[in-house]
Symmetry: C2
Amino acid sequence: MKEILPQFNSAVSIDCVLFGFDGGELKILLIERNEEPFKDWWALPGNLVGEDESVDQSASRILHELTGLSDVYMEQYYTFGEVDRHPQGRVITVAYYAMLRLGGDKALKPLTTYAKKAQWINVRELPKLGFDHQHIFDKGLEKIKRRIKHLPIAFELLPEKFTLTQVQNVYELILGKKLDKRNFRKKILSFGVLRELDEKQKGVSFRAATLYKFDKRKYAKLFGKEISF
Amino acid sequence: MKEILPQFNSAVSIDCVLFGFDGGELKILLIERNEEPFKDWWALPGNLVGEDESVDQSASRILHELTGLSDVYMEQYYTFGEVDRHPQGRVITVAYYAMLRLGGDKALKPLTTYAKKAQWINVRELPKLGFDHQHIFDKGLEKIKRRIKHLPIAFELLPEKFTLTQVQNVYELILGKKLDKRNFRKKILSFGVLRELDEKQKGVSFRAATLYKFDKRKYAKLFGKEISF
DNA sequence: AATATAGTGTGTATTTCTTACACTAAGTAA
DNA sequence: TTACTTAGTGTAAGAAATACACACTATATT
């Protein structure tokens, strides 16, 4: 069964666009490759799908290996299958995105053997990427722009407790445009998935904002009702 | 380069959910398999991706082989990669959907060697399908329900000239619910992508409806403006 | 010629959503 | 106490979505 038949001659990989937010800028995780092809180039983190794991499991494993994180909202968004996208053979890649909060709680520890380093890089200052990874990234950004309007993915970028201004920042960074504060607040609160806390922001040198939490329970109830952020 | 390395030990396939509309019912094309596994079962048409074709090209080729058609709006919607989805080895499948007008112009001639027959079957009366094809179909139907609201895919199901009632029928079949005639017309016309013809429906035993055409030129102009059907 | 049938085609009032817009309140730092 | 910085709030106008009912017309039947 596991002998290699002639038609079983291709490989499937996962590439991840890991978006991160550190409170200020929208970043993605890139690795600097240490192996051919594209040695010394920057690239999206990715790897081959193992024999005994589904593509979803593979994506989780890869995310875990690269960041130490588990239990992250991650979603497949497209499969890239051009013939010559990989110089060493036929590799079709399934792209996933994930959203991570950076810093704060636990520092991320990317542990890759095939990379010189892994680094969070501002999406507005991306270096030249190997393979077709620029294209994969572009499609990923496009996708989350659309999804952020319908799914609560933005909250994955934020710490557990956050201010409404922080939520707005995330939306503005992803959508790439300014939003009106009053309208934004009205709308985001109208979905009823945020819980206002009895707590204020600390350590700021101005009026402290009220903290909120994303309420998973309320969200689960609404789901199916097609809510639009 | 084309020797088989141990990591190149999987296969990638395409499965197509071909939606068809004959004026009355929403159907999909199924084949009755003539080979193991799942001999004598119904299944979605699909095939392995060739070495020298991209996954998109592969999808077009397969559609062509199965229906004789080319130049059909077809779109990738998800990749299914469970470990045991194919009993003969690791096969990851990329799913596409397409929308076809049935009958009328040219009859479809499915030419498959690995199938006993190909047949258009009402989506409300699907037989038991082999592999994970029921699941692939379910996801496909879900997808087009969402897409039909934003992209003009419904017109792919209709003949070149159609009445507004026919358009509404297609929407109702896909969405699975009744729509209000007045509101539907107002909305569909408001997008400005239909051109009213100087022609009426023929051969009906009641007041003949005005025929319309989908205006690709107008649609192309609007594209980018995020129109919502 | 009258009538039954079946689908076409239209208008308006109501509600809901979107957008635009500017000031006061609170906390901190000097 | 004052100056500074961000938090937080309401309303009006316009646009879009919804709900809803009746007259028109081509044909087939008698």
